[in-house]
């Protein structure tokens, strides 16, 4: 019967096409180069220096981040450098190098909370003369405690009012880093 002829040639054509399918459906693990797991602040005062880290090893996963407490001395001035790391790979990737290379597209903001007496000023500049925030000076004021949130914005508007003074309100752009929960800071 013509019908069966039709059907069989048709099935044959289908099989030919099926044969050309991708044979290995198993997924390939992606190398998530952009992942940031760690914000590392290095405080240097004279010859003393210490490190405080905010770490979330599983990226967007459900595990909670771990946050170091920061202890400063009242009236002292600290040189603070910021490093961003991807510690999900070995050796760890230094993401701050990318931030530095694309300095004009990035800026850090240091937001204090709960009345913490901490003054932050930028010590570095991008190619256009605007701050990046990888190198900074922190001045600890009167004794007390509060919080410190580190924010990294991608493609912020660096010329907007207050932005180069460290005010994030008009910066827009996307947030690449926001340390929530914040660092707990004690000034003694």
């Amino acid at each position: 019967m013509m019908k069966t002829q039709f059907a069989s040639s048709f099935l044959f054509a289908t099989l030919l096409l099926f044969g050309s399918c991708n044979d290995d459906p198993d997924p390939v693990k992606e190398n998530e180069e952009e992942l940031i797991t760690t914000v590392r602040l290095t405080f240097t005062e004279g010859t003393n220096s210490f490190v405080a880290e905010w770490k979330d090893a599983d990226g967007d996963g459900a595990n909670l981040p771990t946050v170091d407490d920061i202890s400063l001395e009242a009236g002292k001035t600290y040189a603070v450098s910021v490093e961003l790391l991807n510690e999900s790979t070995t050796p760890a990737d230094d993401i701050s190098a990318e931030v530095s290379e694309e300095g004009t597209e990035h800026q850090f903001f240091f937001i204090t909370g709960d009345g913490l007496a901490l003054t932050t000023t930028y010590d570095d500049q991008d190619a256009d003369g605007y701050p990046i925030g990888l190198q900074n000076t922190f001045v600890a004021g009167v004794a007390g405690s509060g919080t410190l949130t580190v924010i990294l914005r991608h493609e912020p508007n660096k010329t907007a009012a207050g932005v180069s003074d460290g005010d994030a309100a008009n910066a827009a752009g996307e947030t690449d880093v926001e340390t929530a929960p914040p660092f707990n800071v004690t000034i003694q």
Binding site: F10, P25, E30
Partner: protein, 758 residues
């Protein structure tokens, strides 16, 4: 057949002409290639594309004209020549199964016991340059789920994405339709008409047809036409400085049994669109589509091949790309989008690049027992999404998916036996989804292989004033997912779903001009891989979406009734429906936000509930005089989460549109009209509180004007339209636009269109 009547005036010279137009009685659409035969003079012709005919060299006298048109009741008119005016022949649609009128080789039309609305060729021509989703918004009961000005998905009676089906030239369109920002990859310009069936149509089309189906159908190949025919459609709009051009060329060997072909292409280009107060930066688009078809018909045999390619590049509103919840909050609080730049045609990241290939082969055979049709379909959908990324990775797609689909359908359309006729058929679909490695980001949905098979039977009993139809279907869907578990080990879980669907429908014609249809149907949908395995951050919504591997099948029951009345100057269509969906899958916010290095994000998980949706769609028109026409369209929908006794989220607000059209009554082939419209959309007050970040926006009203002129050029018809939308340049936001958080809808837009048909 009526006999020839007298030929009284033998003395007069036989140089009279009979001319006229054949139109559909209810839609007033011209009917091309209708056959006219004059009994007596024994002369005949067929109508042209405009439904017009012209028979010369007739003698004075009285005789009978027989008019035939496939799918319409035959008409016999008594005519006395010379005639003062042109003849207008109104043809009434023959209400037997629509399949009786489908030419073999065309896609099978959906059931007629279901409520159906259609965009005609004229309406499509007047909407040239629009996407499929935007064009369909014209229809009562159909709205649009948008993501910015260029991404638009149809919503039928409140349901969209995986709950509706789009038939692209008879094949189920297989793209990544689960995504709310993934628009259908179809060029509406390839179709002569687009219909929306609003019932649960699972029996004929298988899983997913819960809310309804959109049928995008190219015309039948022109086997009867000897000459080259086609059209050109040009469009330009000020907003977005948009331009679009589309053309169709087709021809045949001019014999009923022969070869016919068609070529069609469309190009669209736009830059940044504009809201009343600011530019919508990075909302441009680039689209190029092509399709070709060839067919061969001999005796009872038919073979047709079709291929289409759709490619598009879409810019995503720059301000809608945000890092975390703080950024989202800043976006809400800002009156204007945070990034507004000067107009540009440049499409930057974030953007989408999509290509969709579709190939189809159809074989048909007419026989004593009915018609057999075998259809093979191949579809390949490649979707790349580019994000704003660090370290020069902007040119690497953040999402890169390759979806391959093979489908086969075998259908036997029975020849009518007594008053019974029907269809029996089966279908098989095989699908492979692959994430193309190298994105540097874990994929949103995993790789999978899926096989869906189904068999169905639909039978219909037809009496003069009523028809009854019943259908039954069995489906199986089996799929295997390939992904990683928490320990980064590959896992390959398998899923298997079986389901019976059924439907009963009734058509009643109590009196001339009245028709009532009622359909009760079940439909189902196994959970989609995205609902089972989604994992990750949704940019633009600042949410983390989590799949749920425990989800069960969605089960729906929809009852839809439609009343059609054509009485005197009035014409009305009212549909009323109620739908129950058990195991309705939706995203539920979780109490604890997720803490990540980018800040805190709310987490949404897929869960199931029981839903109930009811509503009505109304369309009404009145031919007030020869010049004036009034029409009204409206729809109302109420949707509840029955388990939680709460509202369902993202349901269209109540809307109504009034329009008045004035046409100049030309005696010649020219046409001119002015049409003014007013649409009103009420605020959606029925929404679950505390789920969305921002409450639904205010209601709004818009005014529009369309002016059209048609005439002839080189003996062929052309039309020019000048259309203005949002004439008062009103700033407003629409609840069903996912970018309502960030920006207003489009401001005033002036569009000019030119259509030429030859």
């Amino acid at each position: 057949m009526a006999k020839a009547s007298g030929t009284l005036a033998q003395a007069q010279p036989c140089n009279l002409t009979l001319q006229g137009t054949v139109i559909d009685m209810s839609t007033k659409e011209a009917l091309p290639i209708a056959a006219i035969w004059l009994v007596g003079p024994e002369k005949g012709t067929t109508t042209d594309e405009k439904g017009r005919f012209n028979i010369k060299g007739l003698c004075a006298g009285t005789f009978t004209a027989d008019i035939h048109y496939l799918g319409y009741k035959e008409k016999h008119l008594t005519i006395t020549l010379p005639l003062q005016n042109e003849l207008f022949v109104l043809m009434e649609e023959d209400d037997v199964l629509i399949d009786e009128v489908t030419v073999q080789g065309e896609a099978i039309s959906p059931d007629k016991t279901q409520s159906e609305v259609t965009l005609s060729e004229t309406q499509l021509a007047r909407a040239s340059g629009k996407s499929l989703g935007e064009s369909l918004q014209e229809l009562p009961g159909v709205s649009s789920l948008k993501t910015g000005p260029t991404i638009s998905k149809p919503i039928i009676n409140g349901l969209h994405s995986n709950r509706i089906l789009i038939l692209n030239n008879g094949l189920r369109q297989e793209g990544q339709q689960w995504g709310t920002e993934h628009a259908p990859e179809i060029d509406p310009m390839m179709a002569t008409q687009i219909s929306v069936v609003k019932g649960a149509a699972a029996v004929r089309y298988g899983p997913e047809a819960i809310g309804g189906i959109v049928v995008v159908e190219p015309p039948a190949l022109p086997y009867e036409h000897k000459h080259l025919h086609g059209n050109v459609r040009l469009m330009a709009a000020d907003n977005g400085r948009m331009g679009s051009a589309s053309t169709t060329l087709q021809g045949g060997l001019g014999k009923a049994e022969s070869v016919a072909w068609r070529l069609q292409a469309t190009g669209r280009r736009a830059g940044d669109f504009k809201a009343p107060d600011y530019m919508l930066t990075n909302t441009g688009l680039k689209e190029a589509d092509f399709s070709g078809a060839i067919g061969y018909k001999k005796n009872d045999w038919l073979a047709e091949a079709y291929y289409s390619k759709f490619t598009t590049e879409l810019g995503i509103l720059r301000s809608a790309h945000i890092g975390n919840l703080t950024d989202l909050q800043a976006a809400f609080e800002s009156e204007r989008p945070l990034i507004v730049e000067d107009f540009s045609y440049k499409i930057d990241n974030p953007r989408q690049e999509i290509s969709h290939d579709l190939a189809k082969a159809t074989f048909g055979k007419k026989g004593r027992l009915g018609d057999i049709k075998l259809v093979y379909g191949y579809q390949r959908n490649i979707r790349k999404e580019f994000d704003i990324r660090r370290g020069g990775r902007g040119e690497t797609p953040a999402l890169h998916m390759d979806l391959l689909t093979h489908s086969t359908d075998l259908i036997w359309e029975q020849r009518t036996w007594q008053k019974l006729r029907g269809q029996i058929g089966g279908s098989f679909i095989y699908q492979e989804n692959r994430n193309v490695p190298g994105t540097g980001i874990e994929p949103l949905i995993p790789n999978y292989n899926s096989a869906t098979s189904g068999v169905f039977v639909i039978e219909r009993w037809m009496e003069d004033r009523w028809e009854i139809e019943a259908g039954l279907r069995f489906d199986n869907r089996a799929f295997q997912v390939f992904t990683f578990d928490e320990n980064n080990e590959v896992i390959r879980p398998k899923y298997n779903f079986n389901n019976f669907s059924g439907s009963v429908g009734l058509v009643l014609k109590p009196a001339d001009g009245w028709k009532v249809t009622s359909n009760l149907g079940t439909a189902w949908r196994p959970p989609n891989v995205s609902e089972l395995y989604s994992q990750g951050l949704h940019h633009g919504a600042a949410t983390i979406e989590e799949g749920n591997t425990e989800l069960d099948t969605e089960q729906a029951l929809k009852w839809i009734n439609q009343l059609l009345v054509r009485k005197g100057i009035w014409s009305a269509e009212v549909s009323i429906y109620a739908q129950k969906i058990d195991n309705y899958i939706y995203l539920q916010p979780q109490p604890e936000p997720r803490l990540t290095i980018r800040g805190a994000f709310p987490v949404y998980s897929y869960v199931q509930t029981d839903a109930f949706i009811a509503g009505t769609d109304v369309s009404l028109s009145a031919q007030l005089s020869k010049q004036w026409q009034y029409s009204l369209k409206g729809s109302l929908i109420r949707a509840k989460d029955v388990s939680k006794d709460d509202f369902l989220i993202f349901m269209p607000g109540d809307r109504v549109q009034n329009s008045v059209t004035w046409s100049y009554p030309f005696q010649s082939k020219r046409t001119f009209f002015v049409s003014a419209s007013h649409s009103l959309v009420r605020r959606q007050n029925r929404y679950p509180s505390g789920v969305d970040y921002v409450d639904p926006p205010k209601g709004y009203q818009l005014f529009g004007l369309n002016v059209g002129y048609g005439s002839q050029l080189f003996g062929n018809d052309y039309e020019i339209y000048l259309e203005g939308t949002n004439l008062l340049n009103t700033s407003y936001r629409e609840y069903l636009n996912r970018f309502r958080y960030y920006a207003d809808e489009l401001g005033r837009t002036i569009t000019i269109r030119f259509n030429y048909k030859f």
